[in-house]
């Protein structure tokens, strides 16, 4: 059953149409990635799901209920623009935010204590946010998002601005939450970061959902038409290859998308003539490659892959 169901939503701000006729479903217990470049309309879609913005047309349902103030408390939301009251104490602030999500004062206090302990931050309870380091306040922000124990979590660009330790921690939390049966939606424009985590994806471009579905299925549909090559020596042969697209190129690595059904053996031969090959692997395309093919030259029909 779909926990979040988005149907044909549209949203305009003046002359710019931020979201155009977008539909997708998020099944229960999955990690759903909303991917796309900056300005594609991801944040607008997320705000509509959170009932912060109201769609001009179309419907959004959460657990079968139309979005409203009630559905808000079913969701833990961490916006891209993160922030807390600087002059308020950590404990009071977390209790306040949890109360706004419908917890009683006692429940909110208990949860706050629990999560602060869990993050080894018990003694921050009486500190003001302004006194904390950036990494510390990021942890408080996570707690604020999850303390009311909802079953849907939405993270907008969660990894931007996170230090590596908190970034790892967030990944662990997200996977742990999923394993407990919760549903997670997050958005990012850094696709390679989330490839390992997402079960389902929806690719956004210019306000439209251009590709959506189960990540495995999508990759399979694209087929193993990509080569990961590691080599040492003259890299200029890469420029001579025809009918390919090269992503992630560095001095001794390249991800080569083979177009027009060209024989991969020919590419290997050319490469061997110019450089020493350490690794030559035929793989499914990366999300970045899938995105470029989808919105770029290949113009794949999204319905084909649904």
């Amino acid at each position: 059953m779909a926990v979040i169901e988005v149907q044909n939503i549209n949203k305009s701000f003046g002359d710019t149409q931020a979201v155009r006729d977008v539909s997708f479903e998020i099944p229960k217990g999955r990690i759903f990635g909303l991917l796309g470049p900056n300005g594609a309309g991801k944040t607008t879609a997320i705000r509509i799901i959170n009932h912060i913005l109201i769609a001009d047309s179309g419907t959004v349902t959460i657990n079968g209920m139309k979005v409203s103030s009630e559905t808000q408390s079913m969701i833990g939301y961490m916006p891209e623009e993160r922030g807390l009251y600087k002059k308020m104490k950590v404990g009071e602030q977390l209790i306040y935010l949890a109360q706004l999500k419908g917890l009683s004062h006692a429940e909110a206090k208990e949860k706050t204590r629990y999560w602060l302990d869990r993050f080894e931050a018990t003694d921050w309870y009486h500190k003001e946010i302004g006194e904390l380091s950036k990494g510390m306040s990021q942890k408080i922000q996570f707690i604020a998002t999850i303390a009311h124990n909802p079953d849907i979590y939405i993270f907008d660009e969660p990894f931007s601005g996170l230090d590596p330790i908190n970034s790892e921690m967030l990944k662990e939390i997200v996977i742990e939450l999923r394993d407990k049966g919760n549903t997670i939606l997050f958005s990012t424009h850094r696709m390679e970061q989330v490839e390992q985590m997402c079960d389902e994806i929806c690719l956004f471009n210019k306000g439209r959902a251009v590709l959506k579905g189960n990540l495995r299925n999508i990759k399979q549909k694209f087929g193993k038409n990509t080569i990961n090559i590691e080599f040492e020596g003259d890299a200029s042969f890469l420029d001579k290859l025809e009918d390919v697209r090269i992503n992630n190129r560095s001095t001794n690595f390249a991800e080569i998308r083979v177009l027009n059904g060209q024989h991969m053996q020919d590419i290997l031969k050319t490469a061997m003539d110019h450089a020493e090959i350490y690794k030559f692997e035929r793989v499914e395309p990366s999300l970045t490659e899938i995105f470029i093919s989808t919105v770029g030259e290949d113009n794949i029909n999204p319905n084909e892959l649904g």
Binding site: I52, Y77, R82, Y85, K87, L100
Partner: protein, 434 residues
């Protein structure tokens, strides 16, 4: 709209602010600052009136100068022995402020005395000299006319006007117009100060949530209108708390002032007071009750609270909308001006209402909802405002509040989520139409 959410927001706004150092400091320092300001003003006027002026008198009658020194021993100096040329030189060198030559013609009324001065002293000095001369000449003429003591007494008698006020119930009381004018001005001033002060606080509070970026977290739990109402309520409660503290302190001090003043008064002073009382007869010199505060009508206090709250509500919604429309405090200027204009107009009409509370300007000003809270309370304190005017002004304010609240809520709900730049007027119009 959920009352529960509004109350949560209200409580946070109130609790975090009331414990803040800024609030505690302001509560103590604002009255101290005002007392210091009033003290300085009084100090200046006392110090100012002490300016010594020297007027040379050439008294050819030999009777007028002694009379003048009786009135003011320091102001007039006998220059009878100095030739007129030297007198002119003294004035030119500014050794004296001026001189008057008095002769018999002045006493008989055949000629008017001339005051020759270097131009200093201003109108006040001229008035003083004029009345002093009139008095001494009149007294001298009376003396020469050999009138009876009775007639002389008639001339010496001074007339003061005793103020009595007839209430609607037919009771006659001491008129307290002077005191009530002060009360009315103080109330108008408090409303004026609170609207601008607490309004600014709301604007800053909204901007703070925007720049902290916590607004989106809050908006995912609370409706903008709930947040707005909670904020207005919380800061309004803060304002009432601060006012209560001040007014209680003031009343406490007022009640303590009488006994304390008595304690500090030396027996000598008390005697002087008593003597002055007897001697002055009808003069209102020193009322023994001068240190006690006359009673203020309960209805006035209720009106004060009503106008305070309505004024606060009308403006706080606008100030909140202003905060949501801008991206930083520095950008508030362009919107602050049009908001402050009606507040200041009300403030200036208040002073007009003090002198002429039933004049056209005062009546119109007290019925314009944006000026009502400041002007009307001053009028109510000073004069009997017809009930239809009070009722109408309250209705108009409620209507205006609904209007500003509606507009502000529209601007606010869009504004809080638009980061990056301050909105211009055109964008505001668009937000309202949305």
């Amino acid at each position: 709209m959920s009352l529960h959410q509004i109350l949560l927001v209200l409580k946070r706004e109130y609790m975090t602010r009331i414990r803040s150092k800024a609030f505690i400091l302001a509560t103590i320092l604002i009255p101290v600052g005002m007392i210091a300001f009033i003290g300085i003003v009084i100090g200046i006027s006392v110090w100012d009136s002490d300016t010594d002026r020297t007027i040379g008198i050439v008294d050819q009658t030999e009777v007028l100068y002694p009379r003048l020194t009786e009135i003011s021993p320091e102001r007039y100096e006998d220059f009878s022995k100095i030739p007129q040329d030297s007198l002119r030189a003294l004035v030119q060198e500014q050794e004296v402020d001026g001189y008057v030559i008095l002769n018999e013609d002045h006493i008989t009324g055949n000629a008017n005395p001339e005051f020759v001065s270097g131009g200093s002293g201003g109108l006040g000095l001229q008035q003083t000299i004029k009345s002093d001369l009139r008095e001494v000449i009149r007294n001298e003429r009376l003396a020469r006319a050999n009138v009876s003591d009775d007639v002389q007494k008639i001339y010496e008698s001074q007339i003061t006007l005793e103020m009595r006020k007839l209430t609607k119930e037919g009771k006659e009381t001491d008129s307290d117009t002077g005191f009530m004018t002060v009360v009315g001005l103080a109330m108008g001033f408090i409303i004026f100060g609170s609207i601008s002060g607490y309004g600014g606080l709301i604007t800053r509070s909204v901007i703070e949530e925007k720049t902290n970026r916590i607004i989106e977290v809050i908006a995912s739990s609370v409706k903008p209108i709930e947040l707005l109402l909670g904020k207005m309520g919380g800061i309004g409660a803060l304002a009432l708390t601060q006012l209560t503290i001040w007014i209680t302190t003031l009343i406490g001090l007022g009640m303590a002032a009488g006994p304390v003043a008595q304690m500090f008064m030396t027996p000598d002073m008390k005697e002087n007071l008593a003597n002055a009382d007897q001697a002055a007869q009808a003069s209102p010199a020193l009322d023994p009750e001068i240190f006690s505060i006359p009673p203020i009508d309960a209805s006035l206090i209720i009106y004060f609270i009503i106008f305070f709250l309505l004024g606060y509500l009308i403006y706080s919604a606008i100030f909140a909308a202003l905060g949501s429309a801008v991206d930083s405090e520095a950008d508030t200027q362009q919107y602050m001006f049009p908001i402050m204009v009606p507040i200041f107009i009300g403030y200036f009409i208040m002073f007009r209402a003090m002198e002429n509370p039933d004049g056209m300007l005062s009546i119109v000003g007290s019925l314009i909802p944006f000026c009502t809270p400041i002007v009307m309370i001053t009028r109510i304190a000073i004069t009997d405002v017809p009930f239809w005017q009070i009722g109408l002004s309250i209705l108009l304010m409620i209507g205006t509040f609904i209007g500003t609240m509606w507009l502000s809520a529209k601007i606010y709900s869009v504004g809080i989520l638009s980061y990056g730049k301050s909105a211009n007027w055109k964008e505001l119009m668009k937000w309202i139409k949305e």
